[in-house]
């Protein structure tokens, strides 16, 4: 029980109270007793002094018997237990007549009659001796007996000596005995009262203290102790009530702040473990995701946190700590780009009021092609980058996350798909065209196109100049026209681009275009091969007539189209007496070639025709006839005819003809068909045939036939192909 703070403090206070009150009581009682005793002593001294004076005066008046009566009366008075007067030798005064006799003797007469004597024992006391020795009163207090004795010397004053003689200084001693019981009773009563009072007070004080302690100290201590023990058990959701005296308020606040600190520490520990776990998770994620992630700090540098995939994507492990702009643009010369990229990062970091969507619209890395790796491992990477803000607690952008997406394959695949699609589209076109044209008529176009392509490929090695360049340009132009006429629009487009690129001397792109042309031609050739087999089987079976009809129909359409393109008014007049034409497929190309030449080069333009007094509408007549031995195909136009002078001059220039030699028209015509003349060039100012006549000649000859030509200046030209029936079969 005494181990409780309450009991200790209360006991201590009650002890202090008891000691101090007890001490005070004792002191107060002692003081009171000594005061009372002193008062009693003074009373006795005064009374004795008074008695001494009274008796002396009565005696001096010669009334000794009255003095005796007075003494006896006073001894009966309250306040004196005993009052006696003794002589110096201790015998009771007035107990015999010795003094009276002495006085009578001293005065020489008897002045007193003998009165009754008093009886009593003598006083035997050390005190009496002391009084007689020192001539002064003495007080003896016997506290145990509660009694006070007073010895008072009665002096032999000068006026006394007449009767009593002068040989002694003290006459006797008055003896008083006074009870002190009343004093001790009063003191005892007072003591008891005080003890009772103080006990009650002490009990009351103790009770009040216990109550106050309970309320002020023990209660708060228990309350706070409860909180502390709960905290000790790990319960941090408690709070010490801040109330009571200031010290406990402070203690409660300190404990609350301690609990707060513990909570905070717990929270931080949990947070740390969560962060650790998340970091590990992040690291795992960053190590494994097939996406390039980097975190960019406010200094625009890449932090330690980036995904391993970035290393793979950019073929480097030097990533952390590098400036993001420097990482993307490692080339020192790309200062401008770096600056722009950092400005862009700055916008992401600082322009927080602008939506990321807006900022991303000017993302310089939305699709970026870079070269990564070293030496043989060097490769091109196309990546897209998305940026995201990582917000800090203060609402500012703490970091920026850049997410790289490797789009190399996607872009390549897209490009491949696109070209595939185009190829597919052109294949469809080609098939459609070939279906219309027929495989045979393609052959002539193909050889012409391949020649032109080969010429351009040669030109790529060394850019031709002057006439050679013009020739090449013309070839391309012609290819374009033919392709368009045959509805090979992809080839027509490529030829058109090639023509422009050649003019601009953009060899790099030209080579790509030419490659595409070759691919296209190969693709066309492949389709044509398949289609030719198919077409052949049809014609071989039973469609010779249909094929011829189809061919003639196509020729008409072609003529119309080419004339339209060349802004010439040309009518094709077909005079067909044949049911079918053997080897049509092999003859298609020479016929188309000759008709096209006629439209393009034989027919003058409108102005020339008007000047020559010709009808505006030119006429080309195609006639197919047969005799018993041969098939005859003739193509005639009403154009300008062959300029033999020009043929002669060009022939000399080309070294085909001798300048000093006379050539007949027949010989000159023969020259036109020679490969050395006609395959090389198409002479601008020759308004006759020139292009591919040797090819036509060769194809006809391959069928065992012949080709002849007649021309008249200003009137027109006629080509006649004759195929002997025996060879045609």
């Amino acid at each position: 029980m005494f181990s409780s703070i309450q009991a200790k403090i209360v006991t201590a206070i009650v002890l202090v109270l008891a000691i101090s009150l007890g001490g005070a009581t004792v002191l107060s009682l002692q003081n009171q007793r000594s005061n009372l005793l002193e008062a009693r002593r003074q009373d006795v001294a005064n009374n004795s002094s008074t008695l001494n004076t009274s008796v002396r005066n009565v005696m001096l008046a010669g009334e000794a018997p009255i003095a005796v009566n007075l003494l006896e009366d006073l001894s009966e008075a309250p306040g004196f237990d005993t009052l006696e007067v003794y002589r110096r030798d201790g015998t009771l005064a007035f107990s015999d007549f010795s003094t009276m006799e002495e006085v009578n003797a001293n005065l020489g007469r008897a002045i007193f009659a003998e009165t009754p004597r008093r009886n009593g024992p003598p006083l035997v006391s050390e005190e009496l001796d002391q009084v007689v020795t020192f001539n002064t009163p003495r007080v003896v207090e016997d506290l145990e007996a509660q009694q006070l004795e007073y010895y008072f010397p009665i002096l032999n004053y000068q006026e006394c000596r007449e009767c009593h003689g002068g040989d002694h200084f003290i006459r006797g001693v008055a003896y008083y005995e006074v009870s002190l019981a009343s004093i001790f009773n009063r003191i005892g009563t007072a003591r008891n009262t005080l003890i009772l009072l103080y006990s009650l007070m002490g009990a009351a004080v103790a009770a009040i203290l216990v109550g106050l302690m309970q309320r002020i100290v023990v209660g708060p201590i228990r309350r706070i102790g409860g909180v502390v023990s709960r905290v000790g058990e790990g319960d941090l959701d408690v709070e010490a009530r801040v109330a009571g005296s200031r010290e406990f308020e402070t203690l409660s606040q300190k404990i609350n702040s301690m609990i707060g600190g513990l909570k905070e520490r717990n929270r931080l520990e949990i947070e740390n473990s969560v962060i650790d776990a998340r970091d590990q998770e992040n690291r795992k994620y960053l190590d494994n995701i097939a996406e390039g992630l980097v975190l960019i700090g406010r200094d625009y540098r890449i932090s330690e946190q980036y995904s391993r995939y970035v290393e793979t994507l950019f073929a480097t492990s030097e990533i952390a700590g590098r400036s993001f702009a420097g990482f993307i643009y490692p080339d020192e010369s790309a200062q401008q780009e770096r600056q722009e990229l950092e400005q862009f990062l700055g916008m992401i970091f600082e322009n927080t009021s602008t939506e990321m969507e807006m900022i991303m619209s000017i993302n310089p890395l939305s699709e970026k092609k870079v070269s990564v790796g070293e030496g043989d491992n060097r490769r091109e990477v196309i990546f897209g980058t998305n940026f995201q803000r990582v917000m800090g607690d203060d609402g500012s952008v703490e970091r920026v996350m850049a997410i790289f997406e490797d789009r190399t394959d996607i872009v390549h695949t897209q490009a491949e798909l696109e070209s595939e699609r185009e190829r597919y589209k052109s294949d469809i076109e080609h098939i459609a065209t070939l279906l219309k044209t027929g495989p045979d008529s393609y052959s002539e176009f193909e050889s012409s196109a391949l020649e032109t392509i080969a010429a351009v490929e040669v030109a790529l090695q060394e850019l031709p100049t002057g006439e050679a360049r013009n020739t090449l340009l013309r070839d391309l132009h012609s290819l374009k026209g033919t392709a368009r006429y045959l509805e090979f629009f992809s080839i027509a487009d490529l030829a058109n681009r090639a023509e422009s690129l050649l003019e601009e001397a953009s060899l790099g792109e030209l080579s790509q275009v030419v490659a595409r042309m070759r691919e296209e031609m190969e693709s066309l050739g492949a389709i044509n091969e398949k289609f030719r087999a198919f077409a052949t089987s049809i014609s071989e079976e039973d469609s010779g007539h249909a094929a011829l009809e189809n061919f003639l129909e196509h020729i008409e359409k072609m003529t119309h189209e080419i004339a339209g393109e060349l802004e010439k008014d040309v009518a094709l007049k077909v005079d067909n007496e044949l049911d079918e034409l053997p080897n049509l497929s092999k003859l298609q190309n020479p016929i188309i070639h000759l008709i096209r030449n006629a439209i393009d080069h034989g027919i003058e333009d409108q102005y020339q025709r008007l000047t020559a007094g010709k009808a505006g509408a030119a006429e080309i007549s195609l006639s197919l006839k047969e005799s018993s031995v041969a098939y005859t195909i003739s193509i005639a136009d009403d154009g300008a005819g062959i300029d033999f002078d020009a043929v002669r001059r060009i022939g000399v220039e080309k070294g085909v003809l001798q300048s000093d030699q006379e050539y007949s028209e027949k010989e000159l015509i023969k020259t036109l068909f020679s490969p050395s003349f006609s395959t090389r060039t198409e002479i601008t100012d020759v308004s006759g045939r020139g292009v591919g006549l040797d090819v036509v000649h060769e194809e006809v000859r391959a069928l065992g036939g012949k080709i002849g030509m007649g021309t008249r200046r200003g009137a027109g030209t006629r080509f006649t192909i004759t195929i002997p029936k025996e060879t045609a079969q």
Partner: protein, 181 residues
């Protein structure tokens, strides 16, 4: 650490012992000793001169008491119910005296007090050689508590009573021939 805790109470105890010892020494000493001075002559003696002697030249509180009558004692009229009697060395050191005659230079100072010990005045006897043959050269003086002389010389009221003990050289309280032991 332990030494520090041990040393403190030792030091405190030492200080306490020193204090107690000094108290014992102080209480053991009865104060300053009474100075030795030339007895007053008949020519110079007066109430004021005697006051000067017993307060300034040889302070009476340095005197001894009558042997066996030390401190406050009961008294009687006219000196009041309580008194203290101071006796100077020229007298007290000569006790016992046979014949009982105090030497010249003897001074007896009596404090007169009420029952509650309130001081009412001083009554002084001084033996001055050749002062007064009839009173054995005793010079009497009475002072108020502040030292004002209210009676001096061979004062009648004094002599009347004290003459009752002429055989003890006018000294009432102590028999000069009594052995102090």
């Amino acid at each position: 650490m332990i030494n520090r805790y041990v040393r403190q109470p030792v030091a405190a105890r030492a200080a306490l012992v020193t204090l107690l010892l000094s108290l014992v020494v102080l209480t053991g000493c009865s104060g300053p000793e009474e100075p030795l001075v030339q007895p007053l002559s008949a020519e110079e003696v007066s109430g004021e001169r005697l006051w000067e002697r017993i307060t300034e030249e040889a302070d009476f509180t340095t005197y001894d008491f009558w042997p066996g009558h030390e401190g406050y004692q009961q008294g009687q009229a006219p000196h009041g119910p309580i008194h203290r009697i101071f006796v100077n060395q020229p007298l007290v050191s000569q006790l016992p005296l046979d014949p009982p005659v105090a030497p010249d230079g003897s001074i007896i100072v009596k404090e007169n007090r009420q029952g509650d010990r309130t001081l009412t005045g001083y009554t002084v006897m001084a033996k001055v050689e050749g002062f007064s043959e009839g009173t054995n050269d005793w010079f009497w003086a009475r002072y108020t508590p502040d030292g004002t002389v209210s009676a001096e010389g061979t004062v009648g009221n004094c002599v009347v009573c004290h003459a009752g003990v002429q055989d003890n050289d006018f000294i009432i309280v102590y028999p000069l021939d009594r052995d102090p032991e």
